[in-house]
Symmetry: C2
Amino acid sequence: MRKSKDLPARPRRAPEIMPEALGTVEGNVRAVDRALALLDAFREEDGPLPLADLARRSGLHLTTALRLLGTLESHGFVTRLPAGGYVLGATLLLLGERFRRSLRLDDHVRPALERLRGESGESATFFVRDGDRRRCLFRLESPHPVRDFARVGEMQPLGIGGHGRALLALDPPPGERPRLPIISRGERLQDVAAIAAPVLGAEGVVAGSIGLTLPLYRFDAAAERLCTTLVMQEALAVTAALGGDPAPIAALA
Amino acid sequence: MRKSKDLPARPRRAPEIMPEALGTVEGNVRAVDRALALLDAFREEDGPLPLADLARRSGLHLTTALRLLGTLESHGFVTRLPAGGYVLGATLLLLGERFRRSLRLDDHVRPALERLRGESGESATFFVRDGDRRRCLFRLESPHPVRDFARVGEMQPLGIGGHGRALLALDPPPGERPRLPIISRGERLQDVAAIAAPVLGAEGVVAGSIGLTLPLYRFDAAAERLCTTLVMQEALAVTAALGGDPAPIAALA
DNA sequence: GCGGGTCTTTCCGCAGCATGGAAGTGTGTT
DNA sequence: AACACACTTCCATGCTGCGGAAAGACCCGC
């Protein structure tokens, strides 16, 4: 028995992946794929979307979109307005919070961000690595009328920008030795400065990156001194709170 | 043609709804229903869940759960940990924020909550009506070590508790005339006080309810005076900011 | 080491389900 | 009125998701 062992190694799945007219990935349940595509069709700023728009955006037949939306609605993933049109549903808020909570960062990160913003008056943000990018997990807006923009949940590139470099700072390319906190001036976004430092978790891996962002014109020598101090202080504090070892961070200060 | 018109009116769908062993609602796409049930299977505090647990909780066959989770994963709705087990995925955070943003309340409600908490030192919360219940949309935690609990996204009953009554205060039962803000002492939760007032949107309908909650033992006469003032002030301010008419609220002060 | 347990994954034939065309209803516009 | 458009219902078809079976992976305790 265990004949499969004797057979020559064979690809796990049919290798002839056809060119795929639609975005349906091999091995996925089509109906679910399409339903999730409908959720993705809600882009940033649009209000209620009519059925026809949603069907068009997701490339689905009207009938199909209607049926899927009905199912999504019965679970609270979308809401159908009496006036007509669909919006995202409240269940997403619940699950989104549940996701964030499952990372167990709220308790320590949120207060740290509040201290940062409180003492600097600038926007405070926390990113985590997500694959080969980074994702904004927490964000407190500066009270200033002029400020940069970023949204919770958003993805940004790794390796560039204050947080983008901070997340990699503890595994630098050979020969380099970054200084913490990372200071970026107009690096990813023009006219925006960022001061960021990595945070270590209990397992010794980088848990995320904490920092401040502000318009470049406000980032004078005094602001730099203040932000540098504050960010390092909180990076060390959060690391300690998470049970991590502050030494690798302090070593690069 | 159109023979159906000549037939006697018949129920739109087969009326013999079978007892439904599973929770699959009539007229829904089964595969999607099940996939969403899997997401719901992630309850509050549990860490990574193995496939078998998820299948059990949602009443699905192992094979089915595996397939659906694969699809969910490819859209970032769940993440499979290298160590084994599934957790909710980051896409939910994005969509959850997008949902909240679609209500267009952030800009005015969040700063108001910050002022409330700043001046009172207690937890500030904003609820909206959701069907015949209410849902916590925003929440800022008090810095006090002793405080009540509530989570963003959570549902609570209408008609009871400070916010539960505030949401109904402008459509009172005949003969009653509630006073604003609503003050609740240990009404829904023992030992918790709540001070809440409704907020009106541009259409003249109740947009939500804003208020403070604190442990009852801290709610003395001085605290009551302060909280009452603050909550009314912010309820009026947010109403004005949303383009609503403050008069109905002020009239009940 | 062996054997029993649980969890995970692949494979595959069948049935039932999701699919999309067609036609119906309804609302607003010319 | 006639049209255009958005939404909804109905239904036959054939494809797709289903779950049984079995193999693999890994953990135990003996």
